[in-house]
């Protein structure tokens, strides 16, 4: 079971805290909005991902379980 980050771009208003807490998967564009790397997150980075999700003031970022056996 692995997770990946999903952003709701309508909710996001570019606080940018997520990128600070999880630069391994989140960078900011030239206007401060996050660019999410959709790659699955290894166990070793899961805590960082959870922290990034938890600080989002607009709840725009979620950790989604990878659908298993998706062709």
């Amino acid at each position: 079971m692995s997770f990946r980050l999903v952003l709701n771009p309508i909710k996001c208003v570019a606080h940018g805290m997520c990128a600070e807490l999880f630069p391994e998967r989140i960078t900011l564009d030239d206007w401060g909005y996050p660019i999410i790397d959709p790659k699955p997150i290894p166990k070793s980075l899961e805590d960082h991902a959870r922290r990034a999700v938890s600080v989002c003031p607009t709840l725009a970022l979620v950790l989604e379980q990878e659908a298993r056996a998706k062709a």
């Binding site: 709701n8 771009p9 309508i10 909710k11 996001c12 208003v13 570019a14 564009d29 030239d30 206007w31 401060g32 909005y33 660019i35 959709p38």
Partner: protein, 430 residues
């Protein structure tokens, strides 16, 4: 605009495979139910076999995404209390194929809506048009005629939707039908899960419904007898720009773009470039356009798409292609729904950089920024508007590179010529 279709000279449906074909668009309009039935024949009931027939036909949606229709139908059919939304909003400014189809064969579209509703178990059809559409009275007359004969067991409602560029996107349309702004929504949930009034909703383009009405009558094998094995059937295309016979044509899928342009009176060699797929499609250089086939996968491999079947020929002389693309890019940027940061900021910046290219990007800085921003747009919005605009602009940089260089040294063209890319006035979101 005129419609260009061939007359096979018989009252029955023409043999498939002829080029050009006349399946969806008969040689003359069939507006009354009597004319319609005389040309197309009676509409058989949907029956349990129709979904399989649609799957075998290989029909893909004609609204722009070219998604397999049977898959979409099956997803809604598996759920209860479904609603059907027939999408005739046609938000692409360079497209008129849906309006032409609905005005020529209104009953064919309504037949298809009835079949689709039967397949998914919907009792209600909402037919969405652009607000103030000239086809609304035609469709209302057609519906009144059908009611007079007690023809349908389905309840129809016609509504005029906002005419913003992204308002016809299915989540935007559903949100508006539910009382909100006609702006795209984050998915999931997709309309097939939770749509109009929270019910499973099938949103289907009106041309796709016309195809369903043909498949319901003549079957999958007949449908596949036009086009190619990979791209079966026909599609409507709207040709405009530097063509002597602009208008809506019905062509077999997989037709050569060079042949299609010649049909409308243009030679690829005389053009600066060809836009295929509208404002979320891609520009092609004349030599590439001459060779490409209008197939869904083939166009995707070139980095473009067939979209809603829009083909715009950019003339080599008399019009500044770069100024045209820039003007359309600014219009597209202004069409953003104000929801997603990358779209609101990115498209405005991209449009600004395009304006600098037109004025003459002496340092080359605007072009390198433009390339950086274009690479940041993929998958950044709730809908695919930023992706589509990025594809449109990035392809223009490849095709019109010579013009960019010329502008860098000589500045903007003194005469920009008549506009080739339409940028209509649009209203509000409700």
């Amino acid at each position: 605009m005129s419609t260009g279709t061939s007359n096979t000279g018989t009252a029955t449906l023409p043999a498939a495979g002829a080029h050009p074909t006349a399946r969806l668009l008969p040689p003359a309009a069939k507006r009354s139910l009597a004319e319609h039935l005389e040309w197309f024949g009676d509409l058989p009931a949907a029956g349990p076999a129709l979904l399989g027939e649609v799957e075998r036909s290989g029909l893909r949606g004609k609204g722009g995404a070219r998604f397999p229709t049977a898959t979409k139908l099956a997803a809604v059919a598996a759920r209860r209390r479904a609603v059907l939304v027939a999408n005739g909003t046609e938000g692409e400014p360079a497209s008129v194929k849906d309006v032409v189809l609905m005005s020529h064969v209104p009953h064919l579209v309504l037949d298809g809506a009835v079949l689709a509703a039967e397949i998914v178990g919907a009792r209600e059809v909402i037919l969405c048009l652009k607000r103030g559409s000239p086809v609304q009275p035609i469709l209302e007359r057609a519906l009144a005629e059908r009611r007079g004969y007690g023809y349908d067991a389905i309840e129809f409602r016609i509504v005029g939707a906002p005419n913003r560029y992204v308002s016809g996107e299915e989540t935007a349309l559903v949100h508006w039908l539910n009382g909100g702004d006609a702006k795209p929504m984050f998915v999931p949930p997709r309309p097939f899960e939770k749509g109009v009034d929270g019910r499973p909703t099938l949103v289907q383009n009106v041309e796709t419904l016309g195809d369903l009405a043909l498949i319901g009558r003549f079957g999958a094998a007949w449908y596949r007898s036009a086009g190619t094995p990979q791209d079966p059937g026909t599609t409507l295309v709207t040709l405009s720009g530097a063509v002597s016979k602009p208008g809506v044509y019905e062509i077999p899928l997989g037709s050569g773009l060079g042949d299609v342009l010649r049909m409308a009176g243009a030679e690829c060699a005389d053009l600066a470039g060809v836009l295929v797929g509208g404002y979320f499609g891609a520009w092609m250089a004349p030599a590439a356009a001459e060779k490409v086939r209008l197939g869904v996968d083939e166009l995707r491999r070139t980095g473009g798409g067939l979209g809603a079947g829009i083909i715009v020929a950019m003339p080599r002389r008399g019009t500044c292609a770069l100024a045209e693309v820039s003007r359309a890019t600014r219009w597209l940027a202004d069409q953003n729904a104000g929801q997603c940061g990358a779209c609101v900021n990115g498209l405005d910046a991209i449009a600004g950089a395009m304006e600098t290219l037109v004025a003459g990007d002496r340092s080359g800085q605007a072009e390198s920024l433009l390339k950086r921003w274009l690479s940041m747009m993929e998958g950044r919005g709730a809908c695919k508007h930023p992706d589509g605009v990025a594809r449109f602009v990035a392809s223009s940089l490849r095709v019109f590179q010579e013009e960019i260089t010329r502008h860098r040294h000589a500045g903007p063209c003194r005469e920009t010529g008549a506009p080739v890319l339409p940028t209509p006035k649009t209203g509000g979101w409700r």
